[in-house]
Amino acid sequence: MEKNFERFAKLAKIYFEKEEIADFEKDFLKILEFVRKLEELNLKDVKPLSHPLDLENVEREDKSKEFGDEKLKEKLKESFCEKKGDFLKVKKIL
């Protein structure tokens, strides 16, 4: 399981110290055991429900538009860690 836990930690992009893992894993296995209760049910032909309301997707054309609110734009930029002018700096992905 240890290997598996590390796999999901990696997928979730959360760093764990080696010594933390055992503790987390113990709780994780207990919770997993608890949610496995659903296996008791026969759910053949039941349609999954992902949302309480019957809503339709809201669609719009994929077109960029001016943000408009300059003051808000500045404030949103402010909370960004690294920036230069109107550019927001992020880490290289590839």
Binding site: V46, K75, V90, K91
Partner: protein
């Protein structure tokens, strides 16, 4: 002076010039600064801003201008709802220094109605918890017993109302986070129908379950605040206008689900519930036993759905856009080191959510939970063909001791046993305090039947 006031009394006294808004707020902040050291309801206060707004209300009064419906009414806001210019931490180290750049829609509506934000209240980190102990910043104590928890995750909001630090609060409810702390602190709390209140500006936990709602001293105030904050909002595509009109009926029939009054419920809770039911019977409400057969599957279903959505929602905390940031050697290292700042419970839920959504486990867990969710919704649908409302206790237990459940996540999850089904089905439910105990009566209605819930809950309202 705030001790015996409801929103209605406050407005009356303010209009009759028994006090000025500014005077009132000065005294209120004195009280909070003195008493909140012990309670720990607030994470931050809005003293300067509130006094400025109070002065504006006083100016309106002296000019004899028409007052907005909540003129000068002090409110406390859970720290996962954005109030422009104030810090919004969601109880997390990762947002420790984040300042909200705009108002949530509910805040915009409250401000337009004249309400004044006193401060931001403590919560379990990202609203994940049932005791407010998972806050990264402080412990909130139950105002009626300092050794006990106030409930959660809106524990700061419920404690603020119970301690008379505000006349009402806003909380958010994903699996019981308004109703359970309302019960533990002996106040009223409403989880509105999914879609009744805009979620724009609420820091997302599980988007198909989250709703913002009021915590108040009585049912009339609760209705008053709900009427102001509800409604369709273009900025939240899941919000809808309530069109359903409440038909006055001679006889209201209430169902009591047999599955809720079995094992695990504390005798004192059961006793208080039975006594409350009797009082409603005396007022002419008819009761019958009903069945919600999938009740025992609601909690495991909820934890799969809520954690799956949380793992996706919380992916945005990447150390780049907002909040704290830990520099790493590359993108992955930066993300994973920054995300180390999440607390233990949040990490647990993100990992569980990642697991149930991952290839190979999706069908066995997430898809299955979605099917169970439909079964739970159908159970309620069938029940509401027979009865108008459903009564249950809010929590199976009385408030527990601080520290009692913090090391055992499963024990903590069981606090939400009676509340999560309502979120899965998207229904409205209120918690009202009964028998002068920290016990809540939960009144569940069909979608968009808040008016009916209020009407029946008011039969029990204290003046």
């Amino acid at each position: 002076m705030i001790e015996n006031l409801t929103i209605e009394n406050f407005l009356e006294k303010l209009k009759n010039k028994e006090f000025s808004a500014k005077e009132f707020f000065e005294k209120l902040f004195e009280k909070i600064e003195k008493e909140d050291k012990e309670t720990g309801a607030f994470l931050s206060l809005n003293r300067k801003g509130a006094l400025k707004e109070a002065q504006k209300i006083d100016n309106l009064i002296s000019k004899k201008e028409k007052l907005p419906p909540l003129a000068g009414v002090p409110c406390a806001i859970k720290d996962n709802v954005l109030v422009e210019g104030l810090k919004c931490t969601a109880g997390s180290k990762i947002l420790e220094n984040y300042v909200a750049p705009f108002d949530a829609t509910v805040i915009k509506k409250l401000k337009e109605a004249g309400a004044i934000v006193v401060g931001k209240t403590n919560l379990d980190e990202f609203a994940m918890g049932s005791s407010t102990e998972y806050s990264a910043f402080k412990i909130t104590k139950n105002p009626h017993d300092h050794e006990k928890v106030p409930g959660g995750s809106s524990g700061g909001s419920s404690a603020a109302v119970a301690k008379n630090f505000s006349l009402f609060s806003l909380g958010s409810d994903t699996g019981g986070s308004i109703r359970q702390p309302a019960a533990f602190c002996k106040v009223v709390g409403l989880k509105p129908t999914y879609g009744a209140v805009s979620r724009f500006g609420l820091i997302a936990f599980a988007s198909s379950l989250d709703q913002i709602g009021p915590l108040t001293k009585n049912v009339r105030d609760c209705e008053l605040v709900f009427e102001i904050i509800k409604g369709k909002d273009i900025l939240d595509s899941t919000s809808v206008e309530i069109e359903k009109k409440f038909e006055e009926k001679k006889e209201i029939k209430v169902g009591i689900p047999k599955e809720y009054l079995v094992e695990g419920i504390e005798p004192k809770v059961k006793e208080a519930f039975d006594k409350a039911v009797k009082k409603f019977q005396e007022k002419g409400i008819k009761f019958e036993e009903i069945s919600l057969p999938h009740t025992e599957y609601a909690l495991p279903c909820y934890y799969i759905v809520a954690c799956a959505e949380a793992s996706s929602n919380l992916a945005r905390y990447d150390g780049l856009r907002y909040g704290n940031f830990c520099e790493g050697v590359d993108a992955f290292d930066t993300y994973s080191k920054t995300r180390r700042l999440f607390g233990k419970e949040v990490k647990r839920r993100i990992i569980l959510g990642t697991f149930v959504l991952s290839a190979g486990y999706y069908e066995a867990f997430y898809l299955k939970a979605q099917k169970v969710r439909r079964k739970i919704k159908e159970d309620f649908k069938k029940a509401f063909e027979k009865v108008d409302l459903i009564f249950t206790p809010v929590s199976p237990t009385l408030p527990f001791k601080i520290g009692e459940k913090i090391t055992d996540p499963l024990k903590m999850y069981l606090s939400d046993l009676f509340t999560v089904s309502v979120n899965l089905a998207g229904l409205p439910a209120i918690s009202i305090p009964i028998e002068n105990l920290p016990v809540g009566l939960q009144i569940i209605g069909d979608s968009f039947s808040e008016a009916k819930i209020f009407r029946v809950a008011k039969l029990y309202d204290r003046d």
